[in-house]
Symmetry: C2
Subunit: 479 residues, 2 copies
């Protein structure tokens, strides 16, 4: 252990008392079940209630992100118990921090009255986030109780396409009019009016709500008091449209290290703002879901969710894998005659397939990254592809040679060694070609290049590996 | 095309003229080489210089992040050409935005005099970042020319361990004394003194430099002018120590959506600050390197780098893969007698291995994610492991049954079908066990669980798949 306590240690220290309390509840319940005389039950019920109240008190003192982390890492029954002890206001904030799958499961298990209470405790932006999780009646009930502006905002957000900027933007905007002077704005900031109470960047608009530019507080403070905001506003700030793809915008936030950015419509009217935390939250969820999907897991698989759900979520992928493995095995089936005559072929063929899969995966990883960072473009595709092919040739010659030699030494069969070398080199080339083609094709089709690449890749390198090796062996060694 | 131009389109539109100019240079050079009469050469040299000057002018108008993106996506010769046209000041900023591997290559190709010029154009934080890339003499020369404070800072940063907070923190601190009043601080902000010119959060310290708390500008503006800063400072702000692991801190920044945080030493003295952009930059580099390493690529593989480098970077992994594939194939080799007697075994065995590798990979992906997000802890490991084992049992019974049936229908051999079913189910269990054990063991050893998991996993599921299937077949069908 380092002498200095790390972030994670401090988080665990904060959460540990709550986890201990949750474990105690279980203990108490266990005892209550065993001794079922009326008296102990009463005592236990009291203890039980006391412990729950203590859990609630502890949770109330933790930031929502910590509570979310706790809910993510405890057992399902404890998760529900802790969730039920949260105040409505806290529950709403915690839901925003949770992975969507867990929010979904918790909402499902929560009585409607409490859901409505939670929803009512949120501001318009928070509600816009939670609304899609809520049952239709609860949503309708809460929306009916909103003030008209908030209701309009909610409808507007829901109208933007999924994964667009419009869905992510917030309407808590620190807007000032270009005609106002620095003195006027400073006075408003001093009074802490509405969205101006927290803002570190002000958005300046003209009389028709059109975006003129941004003013940061430090700059405002350094400017003579009579200056008008329109003279101070920086028009060069990066703006986004509500229809833009949230993924691309998240990358732009990263690339330019933006803390926040205004969202303007086609007529340059200011309609919302994006903040780095919203986008980081979005990007994290997306990246996690993508990583899981790559392994054929539904994007929202929950490490502590129920077994039957976990088992079923893996069926589609297992089915696909079984099918492709079967198809590859049919290639071998076609050569059973050859294998029966030279059984060493059965021993060696998985090596050719495996090394192909491996190389293809390397190329695919590079291409997927290049596509994700926009580093790979139609303009440089040919250059990069030529480079990858050259690498496959070099490595195919080298490692094919090594494998051929080892095979020769092992079996004392020169022909078999040569076939092994040729098959390995050829399959490396095939693997590089597929490793490039699949991600690029997926990308052109507007799909996640990482998704599906590995299945198609393994299928091709396996089948081709078997075909090339067994085919060459049949033609040159057995005919 | 969407009617609205996206972020990426706008970036491409900004970069396209530069790329066209770079392509033109090549054209000019090509013509010059072919027609080598003195006259055209002179004309061409002039055109050449003009085009280069134009490239420099265009690059000067782009933000450093855009220039970095351009350098990442053009051919090696064009990359160097563009890099050479940057002003020293711009080159220093662009280097910070580039992946370390590209910075390294560019620094290597840059004359020392220019490197010194670039380094001198940077502030202390920028220099601290670039210093490790510079040749020792250049570094010494530049450091000798620094003012004492900057020199001390540079030495301090270099003294912290790699991947620690100390290496990432900045010393451009907006510090105010707790004894100062709001009025005094507002006056200093108005004058735009030093680090106070840009700061949106002020760090308040006492007379002995000990950290008292944070004050955000909006809060400062709302406070009566005579209030002392120590009364206003929020002491609850998250602080970090210079020795903490940068990875864990990057996760904490994400979890709590921190825009910035103070770094304090063991005696709570303020020694630096972290900002979200520094940490996002660090986390991005780390995540990318990890994704590449998982596929056995050196973390800094450059899509457009030279061929021989790309080929050599893949050798260690190919070697490891070849070795493990060979070991797995030796398992088959031990059963060559059985295969010779029942050649269908050769056809079916890759299916058992493949479905094992697939399931193991799913489990490993979930565990790697759980470990990375600290969701998986010693406290809940047993619960999660039991769940994964249960899933493997359910799916093993189900899909083993399906495979056994298909095998029976295909070969009309009941024993073979039963062996296939049993081997598949068993290998699914083995795969789940290995998929859990490898990431957890790697994590306990303090290594990246994602790295190496896939090799070990494939090796085990392949070998065990072959062993179980061929072993069962030999015992029950052939003896």
């Amino acid at each position: 252990m380092a002498p200095e306590q790390g972030t994670q240690d401090r988080l665990n220290a904060r959460l540990e008392p709550v986890v201990r309390l949750l474990d105690r509840i279980e203990l108490v319940e266990g005892i209550a079940r065993r001794q079922s005389t009326g008296r102990t039950e009463l005592v236990d019920a009291l203890t039980h209630r006391q412990v729950l109240a203590e859990v609630g008190k502890r949770l109330a003192s933790l930031p929502p992100a910590d509570v979310a982390h706790l809910l993510e890492s405890v057992r399902l029954d404890q998760r529900r118990l802790a969730w039920e002890q949260l105040s409505s206001a806290a529950a709403g904030l915690v839901a925003w921090e949770l992975p969507p799958a867990i929010t979904e499961a918790l909402v499902e298990a929560t009585p409607r009255a409490r859901l409505a209470e939670i929803a009512r405790s949120l501001d318009a932006d928070g509600l816009a986030y939670l609304a899609p999780f809520l049952p239709a009646e609860v949503r309708a009930e809460v929306v009916a109780g909103l003030e008209p502006r908030a209701r309009a905002w909610l409808a507007e957000v829901a109208a933007w396409p999924e994964d667009s900027v419009g869905r992510l933007m917030s309407h808590e905007l620190a807007v000032v009019d270009g005609g106002e002077t620095v003195r006027q704005v400073l006075l408003r900031l001093r009074r802490g009016e509405g969205a101006l109470a927290q803002a570190e960047t002000l958005w300046v608009v003209d009389g028709r709500d059109r975006f003129l530019g941004a003013v940061k507080l430090p700059a405002l403070l350094r400017t003579p008091l009579r200056t008008r905001l329109e003279a101070l506003a920086d028009p060069g700030v990066t703006t986004f449209g509500p229809l833009e793809d949230a993924d691309a915008v998240a990358r732009a936030f990263e690339r330019y290290d933006l803390p926040s950015a205004p969202v303007v419509d086609g007529r340059r009217r200011l309609v919302g703002q994006l903040t780095f935390d919203e986008l980081a939250h979005y990007a994290r969820d997306r990246a996690e879901r993508a990583a899981l999907r790559r392994a054929g897991l539904r994007g929202d698989e929950d490490l502590l969710g129920p077994v039957w759900l976990g088992a079923r979520q893996r069926w589609p992928w297992l089915g696909v894998n079984l099918f492709t493995a079967f198809m590859a095995s049919r290639v071998i089936g076609a050569f059973e005659g050859s294998i029966a005559r030279l059984v060493a072929l059965a021993t060696l063929m998985p090596i050719v397939a495996s090394i192909g899969g491996n190389t293809g995966n390397q190329t695919a990883t590079l291409f997927i990254r290049g596509l994700a960072t926009d580093q790979l473009s139609p303009a440089n595709l040919a250059t990069v592809a030529a480079k990858e092919a050259a690498i496959a040739l070099v490595n195919g010659a080298l490692w094919g040679g090594v494998l051929g030699l080892v095979t020769f030494l092992l079996y004392g069969h020169l022909g078999l060694g040569l076939v092994m070398a040729a098959a390995t080199a050829t399959n490396l080339l095939v693997a590089a070609a597929v490793g490039m083609a699949v991600p690029v094709a997926m990308h052109r089709l507007g799909r996640d290049p990482a998704l599906g690449s590995s299945v198609l890749l393994t299928f091709t390198t396996d089948s081709m590996g078997f075909l090339i090796f067994l085919g060459l062996a049949t033609v040159f060694l057995l005919d």
